[in-house]
């Protein structure tokens, strides 16, 4: 039991493995799904996986700096959420669809003429 504990939660590698699995899930969501909400949520999941790597390394080196970087990443994710969601609302009003293939025009004049 002791050895198993040393293998799982006590080693840096298990946290990195969890973070990489979550990052891969987020990456697959971005490339495989067309629903724009799922793409957004996958980006959030990738940011969180990177946060987990930062915090695990901060615990490993017993330094507070990675935790501050993680907080800054969370703040950037909040700013991204505001802009991304308002863009989704505008595009959904225009196109009546959530397919990300439809959202290939971001120019305001082109979008208005279609």
């Amino acid at each position: 039991m002791q050895e198993k504990e040393a293998l799982m939660a006590d080693s840096l590698l298990s946290y990195i493995a969890l973070a990489m699995i979550l990052f891969s899930i987020g990456f697959l969501g971005v490339i495989a799904r067309k629903n724009i909400f799922i793409v957004y949520m996958s980006i959030e999941l990738m940011l969180n996986a990177i946060n987990l790597i930062f915090i695990a390394l901060g615990r490993y080196y017993e330094s507070m700096q990675p935790q501050v970087i993680a907080l800054i990443i969370i703040a950037i994710a909040a700013a991204e959420a505001a802009v991304f969601l308002s863009l989704i609302v505008v595009l959904y009003r225009k196109k009546k669809s959530l397919n990300s293939d439809v959202f290939n025009v971001l120019n305001q004049k082109d979008a208005a003429h279609e």
Binding site: A6, A9, I55, M64, A82, V89
Partner: protein, 168 residues
């Protein structure tokens, strides 16, 4: 004990993430993402980051995903507004197989670090006081830049979402 908690949290996080990319309805996906993010917050607490645990619960599960849920409900999405994704499962499976070498590369890179016990540290590591000291001593300029970024995002969101801004 910590081992069991870590395994349970990891199962919840991975299950929530998989549910997020597999559900067709965005509402179910958002609820799965909340499960995943709360479990990740628990993992942060295991890594002696109690302040970031609180931030994760309050800001992610409480603010960002709730905003996302509001938007999903506000748009009143019908089933025929959803894009049809016929080969979703195939793409996810093939992509997952293709990502395995990349993951092995990263894990090998981290495996070169000497192993070290990762038990939970005392209360002066990762709490609000030491966090604030580190933030305002070493990271003051990034903190101010973040405030400007948030202001720009606020103005941008209002400009985008204003009615008629796209036509004008």
């Amino acid at each position: 004990m910590v081992d069991i908690v870590f395994v349970i949290l990891a199962i919840f996080a991975i299950g929530g993430g998989l549910g997020m990319i597999l559900f067709a309805q965005p509402m179910y996906s958002a609820l799965s993402l909340i499960v995943c993010l709360v479990a990740l917050g628990g993992v942060f607490a295991l890594l002696s980051a109690p302040f970031l645990f609180m931030v994760q619960i309050i800001l992610y599960a409480g603010a960002i995903i709730t905003l996302l849920l509001f938007i999903i409900m506000f748009l009143n999405i019908k089933d025929d507004n959803l894009p049809d994704e016929p080969n979703k499962i195939t793409t996810i499976f093939v992509g997952g197989v293709l990502l395995i070498p990349f993951n092995i590369l990263i894990l090998k890179a981290f495996n070169t670090l000497p192993s070290k016990p990762m038990h939970i540290l005392g209360k002066d590591f990762g709490d609000i006081q030491s966090f604030g000291i580190e933030l305002f001593r070493g990271w003051l300029v990034p903190f101010e830049l973040i405030s400007m970024l948030l202001l720009a995002a606020l103005v941008g969101a209002v400009v985008y979402a204003r009615k008629g801004s796209v036509d004008g």
